[in-house]
Symmetry: C3
């Protein structure tokens, strides 16, 4: 058993930016040489999130629309009075989606479904880079 | 430290099907012989999910009703225009709940609360089997 | 590679209580002596949850208000007919947020963002203590 941690960056230009990092995770996994274990994907920062999604153009519109409905960006939040940065909605979306997922791999292959991609979300109200940890534990 | 991965199947007949897999996880854990570690439960596929819930008849109605309210199945989604399979709502519910949970065990016993069961959700709009990974890491 | 599990307690006086456990996790991590690995945080019980949030006064109002909007506490739920304890909303909020997060650490330091704290949620409709597992895996 071994543990290897990699840091990658995602970049998104708009609020509710969705980055497909599946290819990057597959690539880093192959470089670890591990065959059996899991990868924990953790998004640093209080306005990001990670989950899985079929990364196709329709859902890339549907998911931001869903967040606008559940946690509107144009509502007043108490948070905005604290800092004046207007991103209360970003923090709430982030808390709801959560910062981590863990995905097993077998024979060096992630156990994702065919249409299931790993996406990192940037909910912040400005373009920004985001640090993402990929931690592989296995053998 | 060791890693053991098992694949199980759940089957659900309706959309928002809820399968209690607690007994299966307990059974597989006892067969690993591990005493101390955790199990990662990961649902393969872009229209499933996993979380914990008290598996009792009232909540088995409440949870589907909640999803109908938050992400209605009879709304038009952009995804449905891409593939015409009408399950845009399934993908969004899946992204919201997430594909993985991790549960520690001590002395060979899962640290679940008394009323806390592990449930796998099938959000797809048709009956289907679903692959679920159980990955035990420990000693 | 080693595994060390700690149990801590949080206490909250009201429904939608939010406990910042970051300091406790940092403290327990330093006592393990581990440098490289991850901690799985798991909340025992069917009416709790864990995620990350900037723990500041504005968001401590915003998050409970969000839950009131998405899953109101004054609505009738089927669960309440089963047990008569009136906390159907608590169970649903718990299922939505989920019971676990996993956070990598490097050189003995959690990889949290500057404004990102680990919060345990008590959604139950009464003051209560809550058991939380911290499981460190690493070396």
């Amino acid at each position: 058993m071994n543990v290897i941690t990699e840091r990658i960056k995602t970049r998104s230009e708009d609020s509710c930016g969705i980055s497909d990092i599946t290819g990057l995770v597959v690539d880093k996994l192959s470089k670890t040489g591990m065959k059996h274990g899991n990868v924990t994907i953790f998004v640093e920062g209080a306005t990001g999130g990670v989950t899985t999604l079929e990364h196709e153009p329709g859902l890339l519109k549907d998911l931001p629309e869903l967040f606008e409905k559940l946690i509107p960006s144009d509502k007043d939040y108490h948070h905005d009075k604290t800092w004046g940065d207007g991103n209360g909605f970003s923090h709430l979306r982030s808390a709801l989606i959560g910062p981590s997922v863990s995905i097993p791999f077998i024979d060096g292959t992630l156990t994702l479904g065919t249409w299931q991609q790993i996406i990192v979300l940037n909910f912040d109200n400005r373009p920004r880079s985001r640090q993402v940890l990929l931690q592989f534990i296995g053998e």
